[in-house]
Symmetry: C2
Subunit: 330 residues, 2 copies
């Protein structure tokens, strides 16, 4: 097995988040899936945007957010994802590169435009996401940098990208490349509705031993295993993946590694401003410890600190100095 | 004189702000004009953006920010400004309209793209702006909605837009239209460097009695009058404009109306996060009182409250409920 030059390579949606605060009544009125991620088409995006108040644009994308956190923690990273040749694509590319992350996927010419996610943030800090996938769904397998994938300790994949056909095929090919090179494959289940569409695929990947590190939240765990009880869900899933990490919002998180369960409480936080990216940044913290070979308890602690930082402000890209925030853990 | 249907119509740059935090050392290294507004060309914009960290995009533009504040305070407003037919133009148009502001200037086809302002915010909250004017500089006089201008109590103009030739001509025509309709003309001096380029024009407009309400900060007052002493500057300028409003950062603000000087202290604030838009929102608060016929002291107080809100967060568009914040003043 050759030396690795990168810590984590991720494949994910290349999305710019369009974020606005709103009252709970608007979520009701618009019939949005509160707290969830709903795919929308061009028409849906236009009509929803017209109902949105003054917004802020911040680069997003689940796996891209995780990489931004990892890079801020000193990890060497590469990103693979599809933007269009437009202004939002330039913004996404600028922001991911500004963290020192290698991003070489060529922008796609013509329509559709770069993906955007219209995010409504209610007064309780909960985010309701409506994603227009745009160019992101056309990531072709040909765009994969297989050498880059083989050069990284961990390949990280987001479940969100399992919806569109081309990226799904690309991710399957990437898993093969990573495993052939002896690398680890990490996967985040992303969303309960994604699992309702692709749970069979995910369960098959897990049963086939293709996933080394699996990230989920409580709802996704229940959705994937069919077990409403948390402990029953853990008991059903943990034996099938070497490392299972489950986040539980204010109840903290657990990891089960080779049968041993470790827990961490949530980090205290003054006020939850916006939960967008909480899971993404938990994964960033956890993986940053993992690639440095830290013990599981420390990996979980790093995840909890990063998640607390991201929910203390709008947007899913870290604002505080994560290295300073986590200095006492490493 | 016919009835008015709008409170304020503004002509200004149609800009999207690209904002990032940075250390003081970067301002030095890049040779930026700390606290100022510098015009940059395409090449300058690209090279500067490449040095910028993870950024956030928020609609901006001085007069547009003022209107956003005015609309949030319940005023009826219209905006005239030039975007290009691109994604940043759509973002700008969405955000200004989301506040209920009439914006009918048609997007301009082809190059250059919509204006953007690269804003570096240092740890003290000071903003250093670098503006790529793009399409904004091509606002033609033909784009003016003269009926809309004639229908508003106040025409509000930003000095920043005096740099490019076409909008300058458009603004002169707008002043004529407003005055012929018996409306008031308000003008903000915007920036000391703008005054160093166009001070003669500004002084001529003032001497000719074309400006009813003039907004400046201390540095701009000194630049326009040539008087370094604040009181001497006020004494020189106040007799030439019916209403002179000068903001003094943490020292508050003064207004001189028909020879009578009124002062207001700055509103207390926990932490200055980002000074972008402080003057714009002061003007919003002041004008919102003015169009309602409130006494000067109340207009100043409204300005101080709105300025305090805007410097407490990133970006120059209000986040808090300005009507609630100012309820005790009206």
């Amino acid at each position: 097995m050759s030396e690795t030059t990168l810590d984590v390579v991720a494949i994910g949606n290349a999305i710019v988040d369009v974020m606005a605060h709103c009252e709970d009544a608007l979520i009701e009125e618009l019939g949005l899936v509160r707290g969830g991620m709903t795919l929308i088409d061009t028409e849906g995006a236009n009509s929803l945007y017209a109902r949105m108040g003054q917004a802020t644009e911040i680069s997003g994308g689940s796996a891209a957010n995780t990489l931004a956190g990892l890079a801020a923690l000193g990890a060497k990273c590469g990103f693979i994802g599809q933007v269009a040749e437009d202004q939002l694509g330039e913004i996404f590319a600028h922001d991911i590169r500004s963290g020192g992350i290698a991003f070489t996927t060529e922008a796609r010419e013509g329509n559709p435009p770069t993906a955007r996610c219209l995010i409504f943030v209610t007064p309780d800090g909960q985010r309701t996401m409506n994603t227009y996938l745009g160019a992101s769904q056309y990531l072709p397998a040909a765009a994969l940098d297989l050498d880059m994938i083989a050069s990284a300790k961990v390949l990280y994949l987001e479940g969100y990208l399992w919806d569109p056909e081309e990226p799904r095929a690309a991710m399957r090919q990437a898993i093969d490349a990573a495993r052939k090179a002896g690398r680890k494959v990490a996967f985040t289940l992303s969303d309960a509705f994604v699992i309702s569409r692709h749970g069979d695929d995910f369960r098959a990947l897990i049963e086939a031993g293709q996933i080394d590190i699996l990230f989920a939240n409580e709802v996704e765990l229940a959705s994937l295993t069919g077990e409403d009880d948390f402990d029953a869900g853990i008991a059903a899933l943990a034996p099938k993946v070497p490392t299972l990490v489950v986040t539980r919002s204010e109840k903290g998180a657990v990891a089960v590694v080779d049968g041993t369960l470790t827990q961490v409480p949530a980090e205290p936080i003054a006020k939850v401003v916006d939960t967008t990216g909480a899971g993404d940044l938990f994964a960033a913290g956890f993986l940053s410890g993992h690639v440095r070979g830290l013990e599981v308890a420390k990996c979980l602690k790093l995840g909890a600190i990063c998640a607390a930082e991201i929910i203390s402000h709008m947007g899913a890209r870290p604002e505080a100095d994560l290295e300073a925030l986590t200095a006492q853990v490493a």
